[in-house]
Structures are given as structure tokens and as C-alpha cells.
Symmetry: C7
Subunit: 282 residues, 7 copies
């Protein structure tokens, strides 16, 4: 009897065992190949995008993405391999497929947000939309990026509040510190002011500040008055605009405002309060 | 025994090998045909649309779209071919299909945004809705287009903020610099002003500016007063409207405002402050 | 041996070849029939709708819709035919169906917006909701229609901005220039004015303008004061309303406002500034 | 040989032809029966609803709905019949079903809005929510109904703008001219006015207008002061309310406002301007 | 031959006819049973809920719901029966199922709103959320209920506008006339008023009104001053609150406001106008 | 022949009858087991949560949830049992499954809101988020809970309006009366006031009230001035904050406001009206 | 006969019993393995994240997550095992699968929100976005975290209101007390103030407060004036900014405001009321 069992096992091993072995080997080979492909694709994509700013962190990102993709592929391939091996033992995988299918679908309904986040995150990283340290704006939230990963972006706003934003919630990612930034001041002057003089004063303030040793490395294009932007209720609005290094726009604007105020005081140009004409009746 | 194995292989080769070869050849032929079809369709569509503006970049776009479509078709065709070959080795592809199906569905839930983006992007490029360098407005964000690809549009706004907008988020794409633009000023004058005189002055300012050597290449139609647009609380609003080259609307409007102010000062026409009638009681 | 192969081919040709030929012929016949049906249905629908305005462009639209529908039907019919022919060569189309099914579903999730756009566009054209040259309003965007096709509508607003609106985004299409338009002015007069006199003056201005040779072809119904629309804070609001040719409502309203102002000046009727009663205390 | 072919055809005709004939006959019988059922159901439903207002247009609507439902049913029945006949010719309908299924699903995603529109339209017509000529409000759009069909409602607003509204976009249909309408005026009087006198004056104005020969056919319930609705900043608000014929509410309210103003002038009741108590300091 | 056909029919009748008969009988029995179950369940549910208010209309509602549910069940059961009978005639129901399935799915996408409406309506009626004659508020629309059925609620607002609201659009149903209602007045008094005196006056007005023969049946709890609700810009806000019969809250509040005004006039308590402190400069 | 029929029945009874009996018995056993499991799970979960507040109503809730879950399980088990028994009678359940499947899917689209409501309700009850008698806020609606069940929450607001809210519409449930509540007053004082004195006075008012015999049982932490919360336009805003018993926050705040007013009057601290600096020109 | 039954049972036991036993054993082994894997993965993930703040509660969280995941896996594995065992008793599991499938789908539609909540909760805990005791802001709700679990977060706001927020409703989680916080005051000074003096005074107040023994442990970076943030209508706005310990930002800001007010009073710097220039006419 022992003999017959042995024979059965041998027969099984010949007819099924070889097949199982083949499945395992093929799965392993496919994995090897996919690993190489993934690496090459990521390297080529990352390489293209990252030439724009600088070469820092390229290596790290490549590694991260490789790990993520390779893990996903590994799980998928081995699950398929296992499902192809199971029937060789005479087990019907129908129930497993059905149970997993229903569970997968139920999970899928809820997990779609997670997948959306990951896809969004993938493009944020691949396209280098923003990096750690950049100042970005997402919907109503603005601040400095503290951390980016595939699922979420963490930013700190000006009050030190830490916002955790799933990447899929980022409809429009607005990077405020990409290569350069602009300052735009809207200065209101009284309706009876000489506009040419105002513009001359504003341009002079801009020029002097751009030559100042504290600011000349920060200012890329000196702030200049662009002209009359609006006839407001009580003031004529002049726009002043300049280009500065990224992240320096707020400090530069504050300083420029102070200098304009001082120049206006000296030149007797008035920033008017709200005006009202009153007609007395009865 | 070696003979019998050889015979088996030969038999397999005859019955299955030929089939596999046939599948591979047919797949390759179909790909060749589809490649030609894709090229022709894209060329004809692009050709039609791009006659409107100019011939620049047609070649580049054609190439990009060709690559994208051909890659997609290539993947689909080869996957089908592989799936048709696998059963020839006696392997049941049921589990593979099931696993891939569930994974595909789960991914599909999350990836629908990505596909939506790509379809939207396809039409933006095909229909030439806007190009690199155009000034567009999308929802609450407006700026100059820095980059367009199938998935997203990158624009820089007036503060230098770089906005990354997935194309699917662009419900209405508003191009502010397509062939020409208009300037529309709403000028408020006092209720006791002679309207005919105001209109004459405004029209004269418009004419003179349109003849000015600095502006005559920019202004397509000279700014003219259209009439009384509104009886506002404290002023009668006159609309002035003109046509200019795309991208020049803001600069032209600023200059026009300045000239109107100077003309009004000369002609003693008042841009009124808010008025209030006050009745003293008790 | 050559004979036996020939015989096999002949046998195959008899058993399968005839079937394939039959499939091709039937597909071609069905296409012919559907072509005729499509043409007739479109012609009848277009015919009915377009009697309302005029006969222009009916031919062109009929042709466009025919092409679109016929192309769709052609693709569907030939795909079915090919799928029915493939099994005759002994090829299992299961994998193809599965691959195409998953891809189709994944694409379907993202493409639903595109299909929605096309269906919406179909009805816009069929029902003649608006045409090239009409002035329409869609959500927050208003302007003149520059182009309509099945997928999108392009409009230019008053600032010359070109808006590309996918037809599916058009929830309510508001046509401002369909056969006729109305002007509605809300004129505020002082609380101590004689209302009967005001109404008489307004009506007279309306009558005279409607008789004016420049305006009599534009005005369909002369502008008349409808009565007291509101007791506002500082003024009694009188509504003036008239009917004009489509597209002329803005120009007519501007002229009417100017004439009312002049008549009021002559008749000493005041358009009041905001009033405030002030009680001095302590 | 000719004989054997003939025999084959006869055999086929006996075994399959009869079946095909039977299918066609049964399909035709089912259609006849369904036609009668549809007619009866619609007549009974329409009959019930339309007793409320009047008998006009019942015939026309019944006919329209019959056509729509019968066409739908006809297409479904014949498609089923054709699909049941095809296999009799030895053709596998699997590919057809699969192709149509995928196309149907893809289309279904986009067409759900269309179906939603049709279902909504069905209830608008069946329940007689509004008719051509009624003045309705849908979301932010209000106007007179120019056309209703299963898919959409067309309304003209007070500016003559024609709005095309898909019925599915109509969440709440508000009919402003169903059997009767009400006018509600909020009249502000000074804080130091005798409220009893004000109410007496308002009621008298309402009574006199309701007896006026121009208005007595329009006013169903004479406008009466309901009492003190609010202590506003500068005025006590009295509400006046009355019932009028549908569509007459705006004209009646305008006339009533004018009469109240004249009565107030006669009785020296003041409609106050905004008040402010001012305390001088320093 | 006639004999053999007869025999065939008899054989068919024995083998299939009995089965068909059995299916019909069983379907009929199941329907009978379900009818009884439906009646009992509805009666028990309705019975429980309707004890809260009164016994009116219970019978009618029970009948309506019975009809609706029984009709649905009847259609489902007979459709199943027919589908089980068809194969007995040797007809393949696959195509029918497929066609109906695709149509059903396509319809289901659009009809989900209808089903949502019906489910929502079922609970409104079962739970007696509101009835004909109640005054309810749904989103931005408020008025008196004119009609409720499974699909929609019709309400008339204070301007006589008839709103048709699909029950599924009713997120929160707010019944303003359920058993009792409250009145809440916010009365502003000057900052230099004696608060104790104000509260005493307000309470006295409330007490007197609650004892008045016209109002004592309407007022459940006499209106009392609750205290200082807010320090507003120019006034101290006192809240007065009382309980009245449902539907009487608006009339009672109007009368109470009038009485408070009269009492304040008598007691020289001032309802202040907006105050402003003005500092003259230069 | 009778014998043969009997024999057939006996054979059927042996081969199928036993199976049917077995199915019924197993179904019954499974139900018993599930009943016990359900009871234990609910008791353990409810037990844990309800330790937080008090032991009231635990029994009743346990019973309610048990009934709901057990009924659901009972229906599912018996439906499965019936479907397993039907084929034993030689009936094909395919059509039943198909019909029920399509109906179930169509219903499922619409019923998802109902299921969402029930799941949300389950957690509200299990987690004891709020109870009958608590004052809660849900979106824009706030009031006292009158009833909670698995599907909806009924609340009465301060005007006596009864709101029926499906539990699924409750995104954030805000319980205003859980264990304790806080009062927060923002008191504005003039810019020239001595802040230290104001804070001393406010703290003294808080202390005295906390010691008052009417209020000492209600106030948990005496109201204290926290400091300068804002430099407003015309006033410095001081925040006063204290802890009270749940439901007493509104009455306590009203009394506190009155006492602060009286203390301020005594100490000559001014709650300022809006200020404006006026500069006379021309 | 007894013998033959016994024999049947033995045969069944040999052919099926062994299989059942094998299934049970394999299921148990797989569970053991998965348990170890789950523990390791959680420990490694938790370990990485929690290094950032501190080691507290790591153990507890690990245990919680382990329980949740292991329970889920246990249920899935045993359900699969049971479904694989059932057919061994000759029972067709088709109906069970179908019934469970439809029920599962129907439930899945409604339960997707629950699953979304759980996934969101998982990441909140794993990533340590916030903890019990942190002050967070979620949409319009802000307060202190009282409890976090996989499904929901409970927070108490400043009024003591307890908000129950399902984790899936938390789009952006904003932690206001992570490691540090910032204070940002916007101080308005009169237009004619010496800005350099104002900045000096503000900086001095900040320095002194940072050195104060009550505050030096709380303030991380002393509050400093950053410059002119805005030219407002009636004031120049100076921003003052500093860094403090988490949770201390509100108290510190209140104290700083008080100190600034006192310093301004001493230095005669004015925080201006709203200004208005008034021009008298007629």
C-alpha cells in the first residue's frame, strides 16, 4: 500500500509538480524583467523633469517610486501565481474568487479615494510640482511644504498650523516659490494728485531699493509703477510691480510699502481716507 | 524516449506553434495598419484646426499625439496577443483575468480622474483652445500658460504663482488673448454733468490715443463712449470700449485711464465721490 | 500531400468561407439600410425644428449629423462583423472580449463626461437652442457664440475673452437674442416727486424714441413706465419696459437712459442720492 | 444535387422557419396588446390629473405620451425578436451581445442625464406641474413657459432671454400662476407714526382698489394690513397682503404701491429714510 | 399523421403543461400570501405611528400603500412566472434577459432619482412627518402642504407660488406646525434704559395678551422676556418667547409686536436708531 | 399505476425530501447560533460605550438593535434556504435570480441613501453620540432631540419647528449638552478705558454670580475675563469665559450679560457705539 | 443495511472528510502566518512615524490596529473555508453566492462611506496626524480632540460643544498644536504716525514679554514687528509675529495685545477709529 501511495505522489509530482515549478519560475522571471523595466522608465521620466530645477533628491525619489511600484507588481504577480497553483491540488478556487471579488468590490467603493490620492501624489512627485520647503497654496490653505509622499502633502501655514492634505484633494496646486515671484502693490492716491509726479516718485523708490545693498540680491526686476489701475471711490489706484527671488515677495513688499509711505510723506502725496460728499437738506 | 519527447514537441509545434506564430504576425500587421490610420487621422484633424491661427508647432503636436496613441494601442494589442498565446501552453488564464479584472476595477475607480484629465487634454490640444504663452482664466485662477500636456496645464499668475491644473478640472477654458481683445472702462461722472460733452471728450481721447505713434500698432479699434450704462448711486456710468491686440488690453486700459483723467481735469469734468443727502432732525 | 492541404482549404472555404462572406454581405446591407434610416430621421427632426427661425444652414447641419451618426454606426457594425468572423478561424475571442471589456470600462469611467457632452451637443443642435452669432449666457459666462459643434460651444464675451465650454457643462442655455428682446430700466425718483408726472414724462420719452427714424426699425414695442416697482431706501423705483430687436437691447437701453436723463433735467425731476436722516444727540 | 439542396432548405424551413414565423407573430400580438394597455393607462392617469384645471390639451398630451411609450416598446420588442431569430440561422449572437453590452454601458454612463431628464419630464406632464403660458421659477431662472416636452422646458424671462432647461435640472418646479396668486407688500413707516391709523389707511386703500371697476375682476381677496412684521433699523414694517388672479400679482402690486403712496401723502404718513443718531465727541 | 401530432401534443401537455399549470398556481398562491402579509405589516406600522396625532386618514393611507406595494409585487411575481414558462415552449430566454438587462441598467442609472423619491416618500407618509395642511420648510422653500404622494410634495408659499418638490430632494423636512409652535421676538432697547423696567413691561404685555379673550385660546404659554440676548452695536437685545397653537405663531407675533410698541410708547422706552459717535478732526 | 406514482413519490422523498429537511434544519440551527452571537456582540459593545454617561435605556437599545439585526439575518437565511430548496423540485431558479438581480440593482441605486442612513444611525446609537433630550446642532439646524431611531433623528428648534433629519445627512453631529458646556461673552469696551479695571470688574461679576444661591449649582467654573481678544474698529473686545451645566449655557449667559451691564453702569465703564473720525474738507 | 450506511459514511469520510480536514488545517496555518505578518508590518510602520513626537501610546495603537486587521482577515479566511467545505456535502453554493452577492452589493453602495471613514482613520492614526489632546481644525469646526478611533474623531470646541466627525469627512486635518505655534497680530496705526517709532515700540514690548518670567518658558521666538502689511482705509497695518509653545498661542496673543495697548498709551501712539473725509456741498 505504501508503494501505491508513493506511486500516486510521484505521478502527481510528474503531472502537476512540474507545472507548479514552471509557474513559480516564470513568475520569478517576469518579476525580474518588470523590475528592470520599472527602474528604466522611472529614471527616464524623473531625469527629464528634474533638469528644470536642480539635481538634488533625484536619486532618493527614484528609489522611493521604484519600491512602491515594484511592491505593487510583486503582490499582483504572486497572487496570480498562487491562484494558478491552487487548482493543481484539486481545489476549486471559485469560492475564493467570489469571496475576494465581493470583498474587493466593497473595499473598492471606499478605497477609490485612496487610489485617487496615490495617483495624484505620483504626478506631484514625477512632475516636481512642488518640493519640501516650497510655499504653496491649495484651496483655502497656504503654507510651507513640510513633507510630501505619495498619499499626502503636509504644510505649515503662517500661524504654525500643520495641515494634512490628501493629494487627491489638491485640485489645483499653486506653487508660490518656483524660480521667481512677483510683488504687486496697489497704491491709492487722491483724485487731485499730479499722476506723473506720483509715478516718478514710485519709480524712484523702486530704483533706490533695487540698488540698496540689502535688497539688490533679492530684487530681480526693480518695482515700477505700471499706471492707473482703477478709478476707485475715493482714490486713484496705481499698480506697482516688480520681480523678486522666490519666498522673498512678502518681506520685499513690506519694505517697499514703508519706503513708499516715507517718500509720499516727504513729497506731500496723500493716501486718501474714504471720501463722502454730503448735501444738507431741510 | 528522447524520440518520443521530440515527437511530442514537433506535434505541439505543428498544432500550437503555428497558431502562436500566426497570432504574433497578425498582431504585428494590425499594429502597422493602426499606426498609419492614427497618423492620418491626427494629421487631418490637426491640419483643419490649426489653419485658424498659424502653422507653428503643428509638426510637434502631431508627433506627440501619435506617440501617445500608438503606445496605448501597442500595449492593448500585445496584451491581447499574450493572452491568446498563454492558453496554447495549456495554462488556464481564468485566474489571471479575474485577478487583473478586480485590480483593474479597483484602479479604475481611482483612475477615472486621470482618464478624464487625458481626454480633456486631448481636446485642448486638438482644438487649439490655448497655447503656451496665451493668457487664460480657469475658474478663479488666471495667468499665462507655461506648459500644456495631455494631463495638465501649468499657468503663472500675475504674482508669479505657478498653478498646476489637471486638464479635467478645467470646466470652461477662457482664453484672453485669442486674435484680439477688448478694453471696457466704466467711467462715472457727476449727475449734473453735460453728458454730450463727456462723450465728446471721451471719444476725442480715444481718437488721439489711437493715432499716437506708440499705440497705433496696438489699438485695432479706437476706444469710443458707448453711452449711459447705469444710473449709479452717486454717478452716471459711461462705458468706453475699444479693440486691441491680444495681451495689450491691460496696458492700453491703464494708459487710457490716465489720459481720460488728464482730459477731465482740463475740461473740469468731475469723477464724483460717493454722495449722501443728510436731513437733520430734532 | 499538397492535394490534402488543398482539399482542407476547399473544405474550410465551403464550411467557413461562405459564412464569412455571408457575414460581410449582411453587414454591408444593414449599413446601407441604417444609412437611409439615419438620413430620413435627421431630415424629419431638423425640418420640424428649423421652421421656427429660418431655413439657413439646415443642409449643413443635416450633413454633419449624418456623418457623425453614420460613422458611429459603421464602426459598431464592422467591429461586430470582425468579432463574428474571428471564431471561424478557430480563434477564441474570449481574451479579446475580456481585455477590451476591462479597458472599455476603465475608459468609460473617464469618458462619461465626453459622452455627456456629445448628447448635450446633439440636442443643442437638433433643437436649435442657439446658433453662431447669438448672444447667450451659460452659468457665469455670457457672450456671442463663435462656434458650436457636438462637443463644445465657443463664445466671446464683451472683453473679447474666448470661452470654450463643453456642452455637458451647459446646464441651462440662455439665449438672449431669440426673435426679440426686452429692455427693463429701473429709474429711481425722489419720494416727494409727483408720480403721475414722472410716468407721463417717461412714457413720452419712450414714444418719441420709438418714432425716431434711427430707432423705429429697432424698437418693436415702445418703452412704457409699468408703475411703482419698489419703495427703496432713498428713492421710489419706477420700471420702464419695452421690446426691441434681438441684440439691440443694450444699445437701446443706453440711448433711452440718456434721453430720460435729459427729459428729467428739463422737467426738474430728481434722481436722488442716498438719503440719511441724522439725529444729533448730547 | 439541386434536389438535395432543395430538401435541405425545406428541412430548414420546417424545423426553423416555423419557429421564426411564430416569433414574428407572437411579437406582433404582444405589441398589439401593449398598445392597448399603454393607451388605457395613460388615459386613466391623465384623466385623473387634468380634472383639476381644465380639459384643454388632454387629447394632445395623451397622443404624445402614447407615441413616446409605444415607440420605445416597439423598439425593445423587435430587437428581442431579431435576437431570437438570428440563432436560427446558426449564427452565434454572443459577440453581438458583448459588443452592444459594452457600448450600451459606456453610453449609459453618459446618457443617464438624458434618461433622468425624460423621467422628470414625464412627471411634469403627467402631474400637470405647469403648462405653456404659466409663469414658473426654476432655481435662479424665472419666466413664462414657452414650450414643454419630455426632455426640456423652455422659458422666457422678463428680459426676453430664452432659457432651455433640461427637465432633470428642475429640482423644484415653482408655478407662480396656479389658480390664484398673492401680493405681499412690506411698507415701512416711521417709528413715531400712529400704527392704528396706518393700518386703517392701508385697509381703506385696499378696499377701494378692490371695488374699482378696473381691478375688481382681478382682485379675489382685497389687500389688508396683517400687522407689524418687523422692527427694522429705521422703520416699523407693516405687511399688506391680498389674493389676485394668477399672473396679475405684479401689476396689482405696482398699482397698490402707487395708491398707498398717494394715500400716505394725503394722510401725512411718512415712509422714512434710513435714520442715524449721531453723538459728537471731543 | 394527425394521430402522431395529437400524441405529441398530449405528450407535451403531460410533460410541460402540468409544469406550466403548477407555476401559475404557485404564483397565484404566493401572491395571495404576500397580499395578506403586506396588509398586516402596513396596518401595524401605520397603527403605531398615527397614535401620536389623530386617527384621521389612517384608513386611506393604509389603502394607498397597500395598492402601491401589492402592484409592485404582482408585476415582479408575474414577470418571473412568465420567464419560467417561456422555456417550456423550447424558447431560449437568454436574448430576452440580455436585452432587458441592458435596458434595465441604462434605465436604472436615470431612474435612481425616481426610486430615491419613492423611498423618501414612503417614510414621509409612514412616519407622518407632515400632512396636508401643515406648514413646512424644505431647503429655501416654505409654505403650506397642498398634496403629498409617494413621489412628491406640493406646497404653496406665502406668495401663492406652488412648489413641486420630489420627495428625494427633501433632505431635512421641517414641520412648523406640529402640536405647538413658539414665538421669539428680539427687541432692541437703548443702552441707557433700565433693563429691569423693560423686562417688567414686556412680561406685563405678554400676560395681558395671554388673558385677552381673543388670544387666550391661541396662547399656550404666555410670552415672557428671557433676558439680555446680545449687546448689539446700538441697542441691547432682549428676547421675548412664548408658546402658541401651531400655525398661529405669525399672527400672534404681529399682535405682540404692536402691543409692545404701544406699551413702550406709554412707558417712554425707546427702540433706538443706529448710533454713531463722530469725532471731528482738523 | 397508482403504485408506480407512489413509488416515484417515495423515491423523490428519499432522494430530495431528506435534503430539503436537512436544509430547513441547518437553516434553523444557524439562525439560533447567529441569534446568540448577535445578542452577545451588541451587549458587549453597548456595555462599553454606555459606561460613559449612565445606565439608563441600555436594556431598551440592546433589544431594539437585536430585533433589527436578527430580522435582517432571518430574512437572508430563509431566502437562501428557499432558493436551495426550489431546484429540488426540478425548477430552474435562473430566471428568478435574474429578475430579482436586476430589480435588486435598480432598487439598490435608489436605496443606497436608506442604507447609508441606517449605518449612520447604528453608529449614533452604538456610540451614544446624543440622546433624546440633548440639544444638538446638525448643519444649519439646531434644537432638542425628540426622537432617534436607526433611520432618522427628530429635533425641535427654538421656534418649535420639528426637523426630520435622515441620519445619513448628519455629517458632523454636534452635541451641545454633553456633561458640561461653556459660556463665552465678547464684551467691547472703549479704547480709552483702563483695561485692568475692566478685567477686575468682570471677574468680580463672575465670582459673585458663581456664589449666588440661584446659580451656584449651575456654574461649574466661575466666568473669568481671559484678556484682550481683538482690537475692533470702535472697541477693545474682552472675552469672558466660564463652565456651566449642560443646557444652562444660554440662561447663564443672559443673566451674566445683565449683571455685567449693571456693574459697568455703576463703574462708569462704557460699551461704545461705533466710532467715526470725520475730517471736513473744502 | 446498517453496514452499507456505515460503509457509505466511511467512504465519504475518506474521499471528502480528509479534504475538509485539510481545508481547516490550511486555513488555520494561513491565519497564523498572516497574524505574524500583520504584527510585523504594523510595528515597522508605527515605529517609523512615532519617532517624530514621542514613544507614548505606541504599544496601545499597535495592539488596536493588530486586533482590527486580524479580525478582518480571520472573518475573510473562515468564510472562504466554509464556502469550500459546503460543496463537499453535495450542496450547491450558487444560490448562497448569488443571494450574498446581491445583498453585499446593495450594502456596499451604502457602506462605502463607512469604509472610506475607516481608511481615513487608519491613516490619521498611522501617520500620527493628531492625537487626543491636540487642538485641531476640520472644515468649520475647531476644538480639542477628545477621542480618535478608526471611524471617527470627537472634538470639543471652545463652547464645550462635542462634535462627532466621521474620519472620511475630514478632507484636510489641520493640527494647531504640533511642536510649536505662531502668533500673528495685525496692529493698525494712524497714517500720520512715525512708523520707525511704532516698530521700535512693538519690538520692545515683544522683547520684554519674552524675558518676563511668566512667559519666557512659553515664548520660543520673541514677537517682532515684520513691517507694513497693508495700507488700509483708515490705518497702516503692522504685522507682529512670534513663535510659542503649542496651545499657548491664544493666551500669549491676548497678553501681548494688552501690553501693546499699554505701551501705545504711554507712547501716545493711536489705534485709529475709521476715518472719513466729508465734503459739504450746496
Amino acid at each position: 500500500m505504501f508503494n501505491s501511495i508513493l506511486q500516486t505522489i510521484i505521478q502527481w509530482a510528474i503531472s502537476h509538480g512540474i507545472k507548479i515549478l514552471a509557474i513559480l519560475i516564470v513568475a520569478w522571471i517576469i518579476l525580474r524583467i518588470l523590475k528592470t523595466i520599472i527602474r528604466r522608465v522611472i529614471k527616464s521620466v524623473i531625469g527629464k523633469t528634474y533638469g528644470i530645477r536642480d539635481g538634488v533628491a533625484v536619486e532618493k525619489r527614484t528609489a522611493t517610486l521604484e519600491t512602491v511600484f515594484y511592491s505593487t507588481v510583486k503582490i499582483v504577480i504572486w497572487v496570480i501565481a498562487v491562484m494558478m497553483i491552487i487548482p493543481e491540488f484539486g481545489v476549486n478556487i471559485g469560492p475564493i474568487l467570489a469571496a475576494v471579488g465581493v470583498a474587493g468590490l466593497a473595499f473598492g467603493f471606499g478605497a477609490q479615494y485612496l487610489i485617487r490620492d496615490l495617483i495624484a501624489g505620483l504626478f506631484i512627485i514625477l512632475e516636481d510640482q512642488y518640493r519640501k520647503g516650497d510655499s504653496i497654496k491649495v484651496g483655502d490653505v497656504a503654507g510651507t511644504v513640510e513633507e510630501i509622499n505619495l498619499r499626502k502633502t503636509v504644510i505649515r501655514d503662517v500661524d504654525g498650523v500643520e495641515h494634512h492634505i490628501p493629494n487627491g484633494e489638491i485640485k489645483i496646486a499653486s506653487n508660490r516659490t518656483k524660480l521667481w515671484a512677483k510683488i504687486n502693490l496697489e497704491i491709492g492716491v487722491a483724485y487731485d494728485t499730479d499722476l506723473d509726479k506720483v509715478i516718478k516718485v514710485l519709480n524712484k523708490v523702486g530704483q533706490e531699493m533695487a540698488k540698496d545693498k540689502d535688497w539688490k540680491d533679492i530684487i530681480i526686476e526693480e518695482p515700477q509703477a505700471l499706471g492707473v489701475n482703477e478709478f476707485a471711490d475715493s482714490a486713484i489706484i496705481i499698480r506697482v510691480s516688480g520681480k523678486v527671488k522666490p519666498g522673498e515677495q512678502w518681506g520685499t513688499a513690506r519694505e517697499l510699502r514703508k519706503r513708499i509711505k516715507e517718500a509720499f510723506d516727504k513729497e506731500k502725496i496723500e493716501i486718501p481716507f474714504p471720501h463722502r460728499v454730503v448735501i444738507q437738506k431741510k
